[in-house]
Symmetry: C2
């Protein structure tokens, strides 16, 4: 049976990390909320799904349905899918290390979101722009370099070589790091350019993921939603310094 991914139909957001894994594996999946409304799509059905799920309700999208199993939280979805899609190593140690990297990616993704919504989601960006300008400055100056240098160190220390974060083949963490780099380039073109110059292994990994045949095909397809100013990575030039 096909996997069902449930996520906002008009943004990349956190769903993109799952979409990339499903695409790279060539898995059968339905991006449910992108279906027409009479086939169960649309944001209303997505939100109703959070309430309807009787026993183990996810807190927020994205969530994955695999038959009767429902899994929410992006990193947990990838933890679940990793072995099934062949996107993680076999042993417990590789799996927990890959997951640890993913959780660190989740942390910078949350911080990226907070650059434009430092107060919270109940307010529009324009109503928290003063706070956003300060938050974004901190993010550009301290957080982007700190995270990218950590990923660089992880690549440098990988005993199997610097082409992958873990071991010698593509993991979901590699795909997610690619998405982070793409997102930072979109939202913070100036700030990320400097930081990426200093982290050549990260830059090379992102480039190599972009050219994986299935990822390349996905990025060129209409299954890929363009970046926009409703997602996590938003291009507000005033936040790029």
């Amino acid at each position: 049976m096909a996997y069902e991914l449930h996520y906002w139909p008009t943004i990349q957001g956190r769903g993109k990390f799952v979409r990339l894994a499903l695409e790279q594996a060539g898995a059968e999946y339905v991006d449910v909320a992108r279906l027409p409304e009479d086939e169960g799509g649309g944001p209303d059905a997505l939100m109703n799904g959070l309430q309807d799920e009787p026993l183990r309700p996810p807190f927020a999208p994205p969530y994955l349905k695999d038959g009767d199993v429902v899994v929410g939280q992006t990193a947990a979805i990838l933890l679940y899918l990793g072995p099934r899609l062949g996107l993680v190593g076999d042993g417990e140690q590789d799996r927990i290390w890959t997951h640890q990297i993913q959780l660190t990616l989740a942390d910078i993704v949350a911080e990226t979101h907070d650059t434009h919504h430092p107060v919270g989601n109940s307010l529009y960006y324009k109503d928290q722009k003063t706070e956003a300008l300060r938050k974004a400055e901190e993010f550009r100056r301290n957080r982007i370099p700190k995270y990218l240098h950590w990923f660089e160190r992880v690549l440098m220390r990988n005993p199997a070589g610097p082409d992958h974060l873990v071991g010698d083949r593509v993991s979901y963490a590699d795909l997610s790091l690619f998405q982070l780099v793409e997102g930072l380039r979109y939202a913070f073109p100036k700030a990320s350019a400097g930081a990426l110059d200093d982290t050549p292994l990260v830059t090379a990994l992102a480039a190599s993921v972009a050219h994986l045949p299935r990822i390349e095909a996905y990025l060129a397809s209409d299954r890929r939603i363009p970046f926009n100013e409703q997602g996590i990575f938003r291009r507000y030039p005033e936040l790029d310094g």
Copy 2:
């Protein structure tokens, strides 16, 4: 061999979630940074450990050492320890659901931190107090109730009964929810009182965890660090409305 927990020696912070699991299991562990400096303790040794770890460097404390295995990220540490300490169910579905709850707990913990550091950790609280006042208002009004009601729903829908988040025995998620409730009561005594009145199952679970014999003994011991204004849960009355 005893587990080694590496975390800031003077705060509860994220380390407390791991400490509670180790204590409830009666596990042998060393809280390394709390040792005297000549035995490897202290904050300098803690930070050096992040750099020294040759192959799989954690991004930040807490991290756990189990022989040669090093695991960072609080939720990943609990994912690793859960089966070893008997603090999670046996099947994959219970384990991923418990982890999903833990990741949602991690989200509100991060948001709690941001109420006093909405701009970032490079600045003192006093230098981001204006932003903190707005962030905390949003947190009190929208976020505390949203999260607590979700935990309440999880308890209500547990087929094994509302005494535990997952199944019919204590999991690390139960211990972590207790810690969240304790932290909110410390940092936001007024705001959390109202929200907890509306979530009686959450309140009852927190009370029952506090009276588990090993947890009760831990809380009364000097292994338990008191709450203070260097940790994640800080009592700044102006942020409690």
